[in-house]
């Protein structure tokens, strides 16, 4: 098959488009092209899901699409494309053009991170997506945006440096023969003398990206400062770079890291609840969604943590599905917010948003139900399982809160949106509802069988290509499963519980960013003082007598050391 050129083309398309931005005549056209650019990646992902292996290597960087990568890539490409369709409608021309300049590298990084096949290409894509998100967040020209972008930068950079150090540590036991592929990395890790440092740094770095408490503070600020259409892609697609990192780099199948797994699971659960608790006190819809993201990503992380703890490879499968679903739904919610902020609330949109929001909580017949179902066998029926159910209850509460805030949103000057914006929202909502159903047998098949009490067959999890007949067969089996009713109830009760609480509760609002705001004032002052002191110190160092003294002192010091 000579379709191999597709993957490099798909990954390079946004960057090539970025080059056209150099020409000032072509630049104003960019926003209208945004929806087109992710399509090659979508095609590549669909082909890969159909079992056509796509891979290429360039100058030591290798990219390939396996099923988890392809699933997330497909979902991300869909989101990027449809959000891109809405960009020219919700932003004015110069603003959209400026946004495109950061949109394109973020897009490139976000797509590439799912296709990365080794440590180096992963870090490359991870760094690109992290750094260029900064431009999307700080796009608006007001003080909050600058503030949020600055905060984001500090967090993202620290995270990236942790990941860099972790990558170097992960690569350290490898030789040129083994290469830096993920398999080699996870295989070599358990025996590596640096395994604890590597995993710890990895969790720290990726934890910042997915907003694990207490590293989450940047997220609400950033998502509420960014234009909502950009927040849609950042919250939806870009944040999944952290999840795919955990999936790729944690040695889940080896099961030698149970302490770290427990830590990740606990942290993830804490994050899930923390996001819910603070989220319901928010007034800005974007902040509510940000805290919902924190909560959902926390749940995903705890899923992987449990997997790491119990050496359960299926946790990866469940996590990929959960992440893909969250990717699409969060995209829809932000996109809806973007449209409503321009044109005002409409009941049809609110209804759709409610449906999809509850899908996050696991509303039956939505894809979220499937996602929740997939969590069950991995989290088990014990404390963790119960807590996860409670989290779902909280999600219901949070989503209803969001819909209420969304309904109250009044645009400054309501304008009529171009139809393409509504088209984008509609298509994306449809995709969020339908695509996960199609994807189920690929990744979630095994966990769901487990959940419904069906026998788990021994076929490898990742390597079955998608086909229609196999899909129908899969669902026939599931519907006739005996455990369906019990499973249904298990997922449904938290939903009802959350809904009831939502009716009963009324909470005072909190500013987004919670901890950060408290730490910031004090921290900023301390940092400024330290900077001043360093500047003063340097001023003294640059005086002639001191520099001369240092010079001669070094001579003596070195001479004495060498005479030793």
């Amino acid at each position: 098959m000579t379709i191999q050129w597709l993957l490099p083309v798909a990954l390079a398309t946004p960057l090539v488009a970025l080059l056209t931005a150099l020409c000032s005549r072509l630049r104003p056209w960019l926003p209208n092209l945004l929806w087109l650019l992710p399509l090659p990646a979508l095609v590549a992902a669909v082909l890969a899901l159909h079992g056509i292996p796509l891979a290429f290597t360039l100058s030591g960087l290798s990219f390939a699409l396996d099923q988890p990568g392809a699933m997330l890539l497909a979902a991300a490409a869909l989101l990027w494309s449809l959000a891109g369709l809405a960009v020219p409608a919700v932003l004015d021309q110069p603003s959209a053009t400026r946004l495109s300049l950061w949109w394109l590298p973020t897009l490139a990084g976000s797509l590439a991170v799912f296709g990365a096949a080794d440590l180096l290409s992963f870090y490359l894509a991870y760094a690109i997506v992290g750094m260029s998100s900064w431009g999307l967040i700080g796009h608006a020209d007001h003080i909050q945006a600058r503030h949020a972008a600055g905060g984001y930068l500090i967090f993202a950079l620290s995270g990236e440096l942790c990941v860099l150090m972790a990558c170097v540590l992960l690569a350290a036991p490898l030789s040129a023969q083994t290469g830096l592929s993920f398999d080699a990395v996870t295989a070599a890790l358990p025996s590596s003398p640096w395994r604890h440092a590597a995993v710890g740094l990895l969790m720290l770095g990726l934890g910042i990206k997915i907003g694990l408490v207490p590293l989450h503070s940047w997220m609400p600020l950033a998502y509420s400062a960014a234009p909502p259409v950009a927040a849609a892609v950042i919250a939806g697609a870009a944040s999944k770079a952290g999840i795919i990192g955990l999936i790729r780099l944690l040695p889940i199948a080896e099961g030698l890291m149970s302490t770290w797994g427990l830590m990740l699971a606990v942290l993830g659960l804490v994050t899930a609840f923390y996001g819910l608790l603070i989220g319901v006190k928010q007034r800005q819809p974007a902040a509510v969604l940000a805290y919902s993201s924190i909560s959902q990503l926390g749940l995903t992380a705890s899923l992987l943590g449990v997997g790491l703890m119990s050496a359960e490879p299926l946790s990866r499968a469940a996590a990929v599905f959960y992440a893909a679903h969250h990717l699409l739904v969060k995209g829809v919610l932000f996109l809806a917010l973007a449209l409503i902020m321009v044109s005002g609330a409409r009941w049809r949109v609110l209804l759709g948003v409610t449906l999809l929001g509850l899908s996050l909580a696991g509303l039956p017949l939505t894809a979220g139900f499937l996602a929740k179902l997939g969590l069950k066998p991995i989290l088990g029926d014990g404390t963790i399982g119960l807590l996860a159910s409670l989290a779902a209850a909280g999600t219901t509460l949070l989503m209803l809160h969001f819909v209420r805030r969304l309904a109250a949103t009044q645009p400054v000057s309501p304008t009529v949106l171009a139809p393409q914006a509504w088209l984008a929202l509609g298509l994306l909502s449809l995709a969020a509802l339908i695509v996960p159903w199609l994807l189920v047998p690929l990744s979630l098949g095994q966990p769901m069988r487990l959940a419904l009490g069906l026998p788990v067959d021994q076929i490898p999890i990742w390597n079955v290509p998608w086909s229609l007949t196999r899909w129908i067969e899969f669902w026939q089996q599931l519907i006739s499963a005996p455990g369906l009713g019990k499973a249904l109830w298990q997922v449904l009760w938290p939903l009802l519980f959350g809904g009831l609480i939502a009716l009963a509760l009324w909470l005072p609002p909190l500013p987004p960013g919670d901890v950060l705001l408290l730490v910031e004032r004090l921290g900023l002052r301390i940092v400024c003082r330290i900077g001043e002191q360093i500047q003063r110190l340097e001023h003294h160092l640059r005086a002639w007598p001191v520099a001369g003294l240092a010079l001669l002192g070094l001579v003596l010091l070195f001479a004495v050391m060498l005479m030793g």
């Binding site: 760094a127 950079l157 860099l164 040129a176 500047q535 240092a550 010079l551 070094l554 005479m563």
Partner: protein
Amino acid sequence: MTELAVFGGKQLVVLALIMPLLGALLAFTIGGRTARWIALLTALVELVVVVSLAWIVVDQQIVVEYQLGGWEPPLGVRLRADGATVLVLLTATVVMTATMISAHADWQPLPDQHETRAGLVFWTLLPALWAAFNTVLLSQDLFNLFVALEILTFCAVPLVCLNGKAETFAAALRYLLFALLGSVLYLLGAGLIYGLWGTLDIGLLALEISKLNRYPPALSLALGLMTAGLMAKTAIVPLHLWLPPAHAGAPAPVSAILSAVVVKAAFVVLLRLWFELMPGSADTMVAQTQGVLGGLAIVLGGVLALRQSRLKPMIAYSTIAQMGYLFLVFPLAGAASAWGAGLLHLCSHALAKAALFLAAGQIITHFGDDRIDHLAGLGHVMPLTLLAFGVAGFSLMGLPPTGGFVAKWWLLQAAIETGHWGWAVPILFGGLLTAGYVFRVLAVALRPAATPALAASTVPHTANAMILLLALSSLLLGLAALGTGLPPQ
């Protein structure tokens, strides 16, 4: 084939050394409007020479040696070019050529003028400086290295005060005095070494030193003197008093050369001392001290760069921080990747820093303001220049896939391999600080202009092209290094 290559390589080594020297002398003698063309022609010829030399050395995997005048080392002076040398040589050549081309329209005489002061000085001293740098790279003789470093200083100092402002005179004087102090210390050290063995050739000395099981006091003092003297010339903290005013005050093309090339010369000699003259002394306390100073430079330079309000002082302080990274090579020398990391960082920083300074020069000339807070609208007015600035900044930060990234990766790898974990802290923290000041500029520059009347600027295309070329070279260097595989072989 190999014999032919060795023969050709020998001639090219000599040509690489004397072409710029000849160009400088001719530019001075003939002067006038012709000086510029002589210098530019020299640059192009030198580019061809160095590229051919690099191709021969890399392609044939040979080390080219040349005994000047046919006299063998204890008597004569030896030139030597290996893979590492030609890499730095090539980098310097690219930086020099690009800078000259981008500055070709500056300091033109008026129609009724024969020549301008700055024009003659620039087009004479720049090739001379280049010749001196090439000598530093190629020569294997401690005294010859001293002479080359001296020419480098004498050429660099007048260039610092090229624009004739009072404060740059002060900066140049500061630079001259401190650099001369460094030279004196180096010369004393070289004298002591000559007193010990009666030769100055690095190869012969290395042989003698490897026979020792304990350093005689004279050698210890000599190394102390030379190391400290050279460190003064590399402006490592706390010996950096001269660098910020000199590099920030000089005209932009000169700043580019000073930061990209001149400070590297003394560092190359330091590498010679510690890796060629006395290999295997990596674990001594001296190396640790050098590393500590390097770490200090990274932090101090980064913090001060963050606190500058103008573009050029910011870039100058960034040079201090980036030189700090180079000094981490010494404590990490036990690892295979440290040497490569230092070399790669040296080259990628040279390319990126030249691009930054040249971009800053264009910003000052065509935007009219280099206060960082006043740069709003720059992205609209000078998109290409800002792009180059960004790419070069990313290389400094160590974002993949730039050369800076690969160098940082190798350094971190070396820190792990040698077990000296602590060195990873300044490496990573320095990246954070670098990102801080790069993004600070980008954040302001990308804002819409306060006054919308700013017209698209008329930055000359050649200048923009050269700046972009430098920035992209730094990026390509990283890709090429990635192609050699990680960990390095």
